[in-house]
């Protein structure tokens, strides 16, 4: 019965989405306050209904109601509670329900919190959101209904794919989806602005927090996925340049560009048309990502068995929204007038360079991801574009951008002086260069690219902290004065410092792990020792293992450094009961300098075990860096400028803003 309530709520949400789409857009065009108020209620009702459906499904998982096909296929009564809950989105139908739920929550949040939005703009934003919701709810109800019943009900479920039974992966999809779907708000704002033919500083101020929130969620979502791949998949890598990973990287790159270009629109009333286009691209890439992951059209190490027919449905949605919004853009963009002027060397100029490079990098990733598909369609050749391609294209594009990052915040708006920035930053640059050269000398036989990476990472961190300390007057004013300046600073400025420094930290980790990793694969009997990096590993032996829903063996290893014991590591091979599917749990010893990583392998014919060991220098920097970027995003979101005193649209147009309007 409860399941039918959820099913009914879902179908009702579909009808409400259609209503939300129509009443908002029609109400806005008529400027009818009553209709627009109804539109706001529709957005809220939509969030409540889908939320209800979602919790009903979650309830079915928690109580193991195997009469629901989706629960039967993806759950098992012996599964720990956390994985019963995360199992809701650990499959196609449930994850699409999560997708529309997050979409509806964003729509409801716009309806609730966008109090100082002009009613017409708000109604149009909600209308566009409603259209996206309508399309995806149709997809869920018609092709991927999670509430389908089974009769007779099976006694036991088939279990969740054990590789997904992991804490980091339990929360990876919600965060990633919050990032993907959050970009729909920027998209809706862009389409609404195109319909109105009006983009101004106030518009940018309203869009920025939503874009920033998406970026923040995407950052942590990608980082969680990468962390999971690092220790759960057992190959010791953190990024595979796999289509599914690229699908999340592309929206991240464009969202990064968007949060920067929206600043220019807000502060200087320039780059307006470009920012609209970026908003459309960012969400288009989110849709593309959803399509790539859900259709299984590209071969991916992360792919799960999928149904290609669903892919066509999403492809249809993709075509409709990207084609529709770009057509609207082509018709309406000429109506928007260009805004403020600026010299090539200026804060605006630097942000333009940021946008150009990020978009070029996203384009390079796009080509590498879709080229195999295009080639196969054209002449049937099956090819793979792997890491070497991305290292050759993405790397050289990003390094110049990273070098420019510390300069950007130092430049003044409109017109900046290179020599003034040089005078302020030369010491920071010298410090970073010294670190890079020191690494090069110490590591003279190692790859020079690693020294470059560490140098650039240091430059980002030092540059970010340098700018902050200049603002605080560190060393020039008393500490208490610096502290009160820090408290008085806009939180977004501190957020930016954190995000840039976190990026530098992650970069150091990425280069350290990629260029200095030590790998050793040996067959070991109990008592054998092996060497990896500066560590000695002793295989103590293996014991049988019994978990709630798996059996297996656990291998115990003593970790020694300079003959002294440092840690005891265990690595497990688990066999999950319902599916008989094996997984490996790696043993990980993390220090600031690097990680020791042990993965238990297969039993050899001579009775030993193959053991794979890595020493991954600086690996933890990657995720610490990402976590700091995430914190930076969160801190910026709490900036009161985004909430209080958000600008009202100027009613009496001054000549300056008039030039920027229609």
């Amino acid at each position: 019965m409860i399941v039918e309530v959820g099913h009914f709520a879902l179908v009702l949400a579909l009808a409400v989405a259609a209503y939300q789409f129509a009443v908002n857009l029609y109400g806005a065009s008529r400027n009818d306050a009553g209709l627009m108020a109804a539109g706001r209620m529709a957005a809220l009702a939509q969030a409540v209904l889908i939320g209800l459906a979602f919790f009903v499904l979650m309830h079915a998982y928690i109580v193991s109601d195997f009469s629901v096909e989706n629960v039967f296929r993806n759950s098992h009564s012996a599964k720990p509670l956390l994985y019963k809950i995360s199992g809701v989105w650990g499959n196609h139908e449930g994850s699409m329900l999560l997708w529309v739920l997050i979409l509806a929550i964003f729509g409801g949040a716009v309806a609730l919190f966008g109090r100082n939005l002009p009613p017409q703009l708000k109604a149009r934003v909600l209308g566009v959101q409603g259209s996206v919701g309508l399309a995806f709810l149709l997809f869920v109800v018609l092709t991927s209904n999670p509430f389908t019943r089974l009769s007779p009900a099976p006694i036991e479920g088939q279990g969740l794919n054990p590789i997904l039974q992991d804490p980091a992966l339990a929360f990876h999809p919600p965060f990633l989806y919050a990032g993907y779907v959050g970009l729909s708000v920027a998209f809706a704002f862009a389409v609404a602005a195109l319909i109105e033919g009006k983009v101004d500083a106030a518009w940018a101020r309203w869009v920025r927090p939503w874009t920033l929130a998406s970026w923040t969620f995407l950052t942590i979502g990608i980082a969680m996925g990468s962390w999971w791949a690092y220790y759960e998949l057992g190959w010791g890598g953190f990024w595979f340049w796999d289509p599914v990973e690229n699908a999340s990287l592309m929206p991240w790159l464009v969202a990064t560009a968007l949060i920067h270009s929206a600043i220019v629109v807000e502060k200087r009333n320039a780059l307006k048309i470009w920012t609209l286009l970026l908003s459309i691209f960012a969400f288009s890439l989110s849709l593309l990502g959803t399509f790539l992951v859900r259709s299984g059209i590209l071969t991916s190490v992360h792919a799960f068995a999928v149904d290609p027919d669903r892919g066509f449905f999403i492809l249809g949605i993709l075509t409709l929204f990207i084609g529709g919004s770009l057509t609207l853009f082509a018709i309406r963009a000429p109506v928007l007038k260009a805004g403020g002027l600026f010299a090539p060397v200026s804060r605006e100029g630097a942000l333009v360079v940021n946008n150009l490079i990020l978009c070029a990098a996203a384009a390079a990733v796009f080509v590498g991801t879709l080229y195999p598909l295009a080639l196969e369609t054209l002449n049937g050749a099956k090819i793979t574009v792997g890491a070497p391609y991305f290292n050759l294209t993405f790397g050289p594009l990003m390094i110049p951008l990273l070098l420019l990052v510390p300069l950007g915040p130092m430049l003044t708006w409109k017109r900046a002086s290179v020599s003034a920035v040089g005078r302020r930053l030369w010491l920071a640059a010298a410090l970073a260069a010294a670190i890079g050269i020191a690494v090069l000398i110490v590591n003279v036989r190692g790859p020079w690219l690693a020294a470059l990476g560490v140098g650039v990472g240091a430059w980002l961190i030092i540059g970010a902290l340098w700018e902050l300390s200049e603002r605080l007057g560190a060393g020039r004013v008393p500490l208490a004065a610096s502290w009160s300046r820090l408290k008085g600073m806009p939180r977004a400025a501190i957020g930016m410092t954190l995000a840039h420094a976190g990026l530098g930290l992650a970069l150091i980790g990425i280069f350290g792990l990629s260029f200095w990793r030590v790998e050793n694969i040996v067959a070991m009997q109990s008592g054998d020792t092996a060497q990896v990096g500066a560590y000695t590993i002793v295989f103590v032996g293996e014991t049988p293992l019994k978990g709630p829903n798996y059996t297996g063996v656990s291998g115990k290893f003593d970790l020694l450094r300079d003959g002294k014991p440092v840690a005891v590591l265990t690595s497990e091979k688990r066999e999950f009961k319902p599916r008989g599917m094996p997984t490996t749990e790696v043993g990980l010893h993390q220090t600031v300098a690097g990680d020791v990583y042990i993965a238990l392998g297969d039993k050899a014919m001579n009775g030993g075990r193959s053991v794979r060991m890595y020493y991954n220098p600086l690996a933890s920097f990657i995720w610490w860096g990402a976590a700091i970027m995430f914190l930076g995003g969160l801190l910026s979101l709490t900036d009161r400028r985004f909430r209080v005193g958000a600008p009202r649209r100027a009613t009496v147009a001054t000549p300056a803003t008039e030039a920027g309007r229609v």
Binding site: N161, I163, T299, A305, A364, T393, T583
Partner: protein, 148 residues
């Protein structure tokens, strides 16, 4: 600078960035792509040894052998032709006899294949699409849930 000149600078810098990206992409793509073959395609097309490629098919039943747990030998088959593969390392958890596999590496002069990567899957029902397509094209019957 006038508005027009500024716009020109913007457009030129945009084109420069795109040009650089396009150049890098073209250079990288010609150099780094890896072709996919099944054992019989490898025989038909007379693939030269030394080239980096991906080999896909099914792991022949009873062919997997590893004396020391580190060096693995197995045979990849598309039921028409077979290729012997040697791989040093750890096989992925879902590597099994009779199931689809993709190995990346280099074809040796003696016709065997030296793999440095054997691709993992996340799902026991998943079969790499190339493998599924190629096998289907050769009329090989695929078992339940064997890929799209």
């Amino acid at each position: 600078m006038t508005r027009k000149q500024k716009r020109l600078v913007m457009i030129l810098s945009g084109l420069a960035a795109l040009g650089l990206a396009a150049g890098l992409v073209l250079y990288a793509i010609s150099d780094t792509i890896v072709f996919f073959f099944t054992p019989s395609e490898m025989a038909e097309k007379h693939v030269a040894p030394g080239q980096r490629l991906r080999l896909g098919g099914m792991v022949e039943a009873g062919s997997v052998a590893s004396a020391d747990g580190v060096n693995h030998n197995f045979v990849v088959t598309d039921t028409i032709a077979t290729t012997k593969v040697h791989f040093k390392g750890q096989l992925p958890d879902l590597f099994r006899e009779g199931q689809g596999v993709v190995a990346e590496g280099v074809l040796q002069p003696d016709g065997s294949f030296e793999a440095d990567t054997v691709l993992a899957k996340h799902d026991e029902n998943y079969m790499p699409r190339e493998v599924a397509d190629s096998l289907k094209a050769k009329g090989v019957h695929l078992g339940k849930g064997a890929g799209p």
